[in-house]
């Protein structure tokens, strides 16, 4: 593959924000020049750099086809999946790469995602059935296509974290549960087989829940899977308001 890339004469500059914790106090930019071809993705460009120019460069990747959600990074300031962004959309200008915004940098383009993972774990993202311990002989929980449609797009999340990088509210205060985790919460609340809404509304109603969102809406623009976190959160705000109003008239 790399031999084929070398056939071209055109060169593109890739600037990477480097950070090596064992020797650097703070990140610094480093520019690499690589042969340009229009079908080269940002991820392939990084692999070229690692194979041919500087083997110390660190970045995450796995599937190369926008389903594992590992290769998120900032491309010219916008959060993208490295495998789904192409040099042809930037050439002949320089491409600036930086680790995903709003997360601490572990090394080079690798971020610490622990906070995001913790939030995913907090939102009870699993089916909480109404009848506990239903015997297997009763068969599966059935669902109509219409019931599926109510939450389907919110279940397409690949946990890449791009929406957290796009969210200034998360940047200002990372106690905010954030787009992907709230969307996943909405996905289960909207599932006809689930009866855990009351439990999850306690998470939703907090200041750190949906009310930490000011509807910037960039999360929905950057999502590589067409999920609409902004919509999920606004719909949860409606539910949260209803919950509050009903709670006012209902004794505990």
């Amino acid at each position: 593959m790399s031999q084929a890339i070398n056939m071209t004469d055109e060169i593109i500059e890739i600037e990477i924000l480097r950070y090596r914790p064992e020797q650097d106090e703070k990140p610094f930019p480093q520019v690499f020049e690589i042969p340009y071809t229009p079908d080269l993705s940002i991820l392939e460009a990084l692999q070229y750099i690692k194979d041919h120019l500087d083997s110390t460069i660190s970045f995450r990747w796995s599937c190369r086809m926008a389903i594992c959600g590992s290769c998120g990074l900032m491309v010219n300031g916008a959060p993208k999946l490295g495998c789904k962004a192409f040099l042809r959309d930037y050439y002949p200008k320089k491409v600036k790469l930086e680790a995903l915004a709003n997360f601490p940098i572990e090394r080079d383009l690798v971020v610490v995602m622990d906070d995001f993972i913790k939030k995913l774990e907090e939102v009870k993202a699993y089916l909480i059935p109404e009848v506990k311990n239903k015997p297997l002989s009763d068969g599966p929980y059935q669902q109509t296509p219409e019931q599926l449609e109510k939450y389907r797009q919110f279940s397409m999340c690949i946990n890449c974290g791009l929406c957290y990088s796009a969210c200034p509210q998360y940047a200002l205060d990372n106690k905010f549960i954030g787009p992907a985790a709230l969307t996943l919460l909405a996905r289960y609340n909207r599932d006809g087989r689930d009866a855990g809404t009351a439990e999850r509304m306690k998470i939703v109603n907090q200041e750190e829940g949906v009310w930490g969102c000011t509807f910037v809406g960039y999360c929905s623009v950057v999502c590589p899977k067409g999920v609409d976190p902004a919509a999920a959160i606004q719909l949860l705000k409606v539910e949260s308001s209803k919950d509050y109003l009903i709670g006012m008239f209902k004794p505990e």
Binding site: Y19, P21, E22, K26, P27, G77, A78, A101, P104, I105, E106, V112, E146, E149, K150, P168, A171, L172, T214, F215, V216, G217, Y218, S220, V221, D228, A230, A231, Q234, L235, K237, V238
Partner: protein, 129 residues
């Protein structure tokens, strides 16, 4: 010993100028400042009305100053910008389903513009009558 030393990047106060999307968001939210000013001027007018005809006429006079006219035009532009951007986002906050299908975004947006036009017309007509 671990060599881990995660680096946290600071968020600069000009973050909203770095991306057009954020700038437009700040304009949308910033429109509230001008709309607050407009509401205060209007509330002041109601207060002056309670003080009698002379006071109210003085307020009306003050509204015709160039500064006041510029302020009101800018407030109108911001109010329109806020309305248009809000209408375009409205489908995200509405979950309407008819016969098992989600109502198309376009219908929701158009509905908002129709309501906007009808209410504006009603207000204008009721002033003239």
């Amino acid at each position: 010993m671990s060599k881990r030393k995660p680096y946290t990047r600071e968020m600069k106060s000009d973050w909203w100028l770095k991306d057009l999307f954020y700038s437009k968001y700040m304009l949308r939210e910033g429109s509230s400042i001008l709309i607050t000013l407009y509401s205060l001027i209007l509330a002041w007018g109601v207060f002056r009305l309670s003080q009698g005809e002379v006071a109210f006429n003085a307020w009306m006079e003050a509204l015709q100053s160039p500064l006041s006219i510029i302020l009101h035009i800018v407030a109108l532009i911001f109010a329109l910008y806020h309305s248009i951007t809000w209408f375009s986002l409205a489908p995200k906050a509405l979950d309407l389903w008819i016969k098992g299908k989600r109502v198309d975004d376009k219908i929701i947006v158009t509905g908002h513009y129709v309501a906007f036009a009808v209410i504006s017309l009603f207000c204008l007509v009721s002033i003239l009558i």
